[in-house]
């Protein structure tokens, strides 16, 4: 997907002013946040489970090459072909090659964020292969001129049912439905024939299990199962960081993923897929391919941002982020929004292309406390800010302001003088009022709120006077 993160601030402004979006965001926030809080009560010890998940992810990432090789061996033993792709362009080329080899004219897809990174649908279309998204949210985006998703779990988080109703009426040429149940049924009926006629199914992979060479798929709709059961060819596209050691580790992560994502104790469908159809089986693919994608991940291994590779793509961080709650996902401008997107986008798409993303955070850590694998997101955002300073990507005015503040703050006499004048100036601006409505030196502040007036004298002055009075006695 094309990177548009450099327009974050402008887009954020539009999103704040979008009244319908604000209503949609408000509704979704309470559902995800409250449901998750309720769901984690079911676990004997949520914190211990988080700790176990973090440990197993770190263990795997610490020997990622070995675990990937093990996965490759096991998957190959069971009839799958394992391919490796450096970037999105290679992913697209490989999928097209596989499609041509098997005479594929139509592909059904269940959710794959990697395929979004790679812009796969456009590439397939250009190669004469029709891709059909089957995840209801992804389908809605596809028929809306390939609109990008705004959330990694709930791709149309930003849409109202009226939006969807109008879109369906236009695309399906059927009378508009007003009821969400009816719209869902309509989508089911429109998509069912595609499921049964596609020659190839493409899925992502929530986890790759090294022990058995399997892919684990987490869905609620049943489309994941359709896409991987009906067609003769199944292609799994996923990142190299998704490998985990054992089926027991899968069980641990499955206690956390659905709860953290949607507040469910388990997703409706959870499938472990291993190899091709066995002889005599009437369903399942005859051919199975894994495309393991680098896309910037290999360079993060063992480095200062390695913790981000633990991510299991639950979306809890963005659900709890005050910035995401205010502007939604599209402002972030790429595949991954919210806190995890603010870390991954600069790393995958280039720091200079996503300058605002690590800056647009309050570092409140509402994300970090809910992350099921304990990724220290505010730490990583701060480290990205440090990288920007090191690479001299910050505005000159900011560098000057920080240097000036630091220079003065290291010189108490200068500091005392400067602050004395500053508070008297602010006090004068306030003109007796408790608040200053417009502050030229901080326009971003006073656009949306007043600036409280200072008391008028600094603590330093007043304390010195107090001590002098006491000394004099």
């Amino acid at each position: 997907m094309q990177v548009r993160s450099m327009h974050f601030k402008a887009r954020a402004g539009e999103k704040l002013a979008d009244a319908q979006l604000q209503v949609n965001l408000g509704r979704a926030k309470s559902k995800f946040v409250d449901k998750r809080a309720h769901a984690i009560l079911d676990l004997e010890d949520f914190e211990a489970t988080r700790g176990a998940a973090k440990e197993l992810r770190d263990l795997t990432l610490g020997d990622l090459d070995l675990w990937l090789e093990r996965f490759e061996t096991e998957a190959t033993k069971r009839g799958a072909t394992v391919l490796w792709a450096r970037d999105g362009a290679e992913v697209c080329q490989m999928v097209i090659d596989i499609g041509r080899r098997h005479g594929v004219r139509k592909v059904t897809k269940s959710k794959s964020m990697l395929s979004e990174e790679a812009g796969l649908n456009q590439a397939l279309g250009a190669a004469g292969i029709q891709p059909v998204e089957t995840d209801l949210g992804e389908y809605i985006l596809q028929i809306n001129d390939n609109e990008p998703p705004s959330h990694i779990i709930a791709p149309v988080f930003h849409k109202s049912k009226e939006d969807v109703s109008a879109l369906f009426a236009r695309t399906h040429h059927l009378p508009p439905k007003t009821d969400i149940q009816e719209m869902t049924r309509e989508a089911r009926e429109v998509l069912r024939p595609h499921f049964l006629s596609a020659e190839m199914g493409i899925s992502g992979g929530n986890f790759l299990v090294a022990e058995t060479g399997s892919v684990a798929l987490v869905t609620n709709e049943g489309n994941g199962r359709m896409v991987t059961t009906m067609p003769g060819v199944h292609v799994v596209i996923t990142g190299i960081e998704k490998v985990i050691p054992t089926l027991e580790d899968l069980a641990t992560l499955m206690r956390l993923l659905p709860r953290s994502a949607t507040g469910q104790s388990i997703s409706n469908y959870f499938s472990l897929l291993t190899g091709t159809a066995r002889s005599g089986e009437t369903d399942g693919p005859a051919h199975m391919y894994f495309i393991l994608v680098d896309g910037g991940r290999a360079d993060m291994v063992g480095g200062e941002f390695a913790e981000m590779l633990r991510c299991i793509r639950c979306g809890a961080c963005m659900n709890h982020c005050p910035v995401y709650q205010a502007v939604g996902g599209h402002a972030y401008g790429w595949v991954y929004p919210g806190p995890m997107g603010s870390v991954l986008t600069p790393l995958f798409a280039g720091i200079e292309n996503a300058i605002d993303l690590p800056q647009a955070a309050t570092l409140c850590n509402q994300c970090g406390v809910v992350c099921p694998v304990k990724i220290p997101l505010p730490e990583l955002l701060r480290r990205l800010r440090e990288k920007q300073v090191e690479q001299r990507l910050r505005p000159r005015s900011e560098r000057l302001a920080l240097n000036l503040w630091s220079w003065v703050a290291q010189r108490p006499a200068w500091y005392a003088l400067a602050t004395k004048w500053a508070v008297r100036y602010l006090n004068w601006l306030a003109g007796g009022r408790a608040n200053i409505p417009v502050l030229g030196v901080a326009p971003e502040w006073t656009l949306g709120r007043d600036f409280p007036a200072p008391e008028g004298r600094t603590f330093r002055e007043l304390y010195a006077e107090r001590q002098a009075k006491r000394g004099a006695r």
């Binding site: 995800f32 998940a53 070995l66 090789e69 149309v156 709709e221 641990t252 959870f270 091709t276 369903d283």
Partner: protein, 217 residues
């Protein structure tokens, strides 16, 4: 250089991989896999069957008890009639010999191709922790039967209800040895919340799941 060598090469360099630490690493890896250590569990209150029943109901599956497999046809006929559903279905081969005709049902033991409205399956085992059915694909246990029809009816033997996923994996390894092509964990009717985060049952999979628990002690 192939993409594979490029990618693995970079990962190895980032990790400081040497032939010596690779040997140690592989040994540690095999040890970890062999240990199969489980993580912290979920909470199960009461006995496994009651917990399973409660969790299934919470997921909008309907649950019924039968004491003998021979009662299944009548129970299923009652269920279908009460929902105004057709009295016909496809089933797994293991249920072909049940007396469906006596219950007024037309049930064929064959794979489904999409037009069947009701599918009757068994399961490999069930998870009490979350009210989940675990089905393993195979020649006699086709996966599509629990997916394509609008109604899925599952017959679960009470002694096959285990605590959680870890217990299910242990059972699978000991009874099947090999992991089948597809292990499908099913937790209620299919659903989506994509439109306005409002949950709707019956997305692409079945609209309804009815579970018959056989032989509760």
């Amino acid at each position: 250089m192939s993409s594979r060598e490029d990618i693995l090469g970079r990962v190895r360099r980032q990790l400081g991989r040497t032939p010596e630490n690779a040997v140690r690493g592989r040994s540690a890896m095999e040890g970890y896999i062999a240990a199969r250590a489980p993580g912290p569990h979920g909470i199960i209150s009461g006995d496994l069957v009651s917990h399973f029943r409660d969790k299934s109901a919470a997921l909008s599956s309907s649950v019924e008890d039968i004491t003998d497999l021979a009662q299944a046809p009548a129970a299923i006929a009652r269920y279908l009639a009460s929902h105004g559903l057709p009295q016909q279905a496809v089933c797994w081969p293991r249920f072909a010999a049940l007396d469906w005709k006596a219950a007024g049902l037309q049930v064929e033991s064959r794979p489904t191709h999409g037009a069947d409205l009701v599918g009757i399956s068994g399961c490999f085992c069930a998870l009490a922790e979350t009210g989940t059915l675990m089905l393993c694909s195979g020649v006699d246990t086709p996966a599509a039967l629990s997916l394509l029809p609008e109604t899925h009816i599952a017959i679960v033997a009470a002694e096959r209800i285990v605590a959680g996923m870890e217990e299910a994996w242990t059972l699978l390894r000991s009874e099947l040895g090999e992991v089948p092509r597809a292990v499908n964990f099913i937790s209620g009717p299919s659903r989506t919340g994509d439109i306005e985060q409002t949950i709707v049952l019956g997305a692409h999979g079945p609209y309804r799941v009815h579970i018959l628990i056989l032989g509760t002690p």
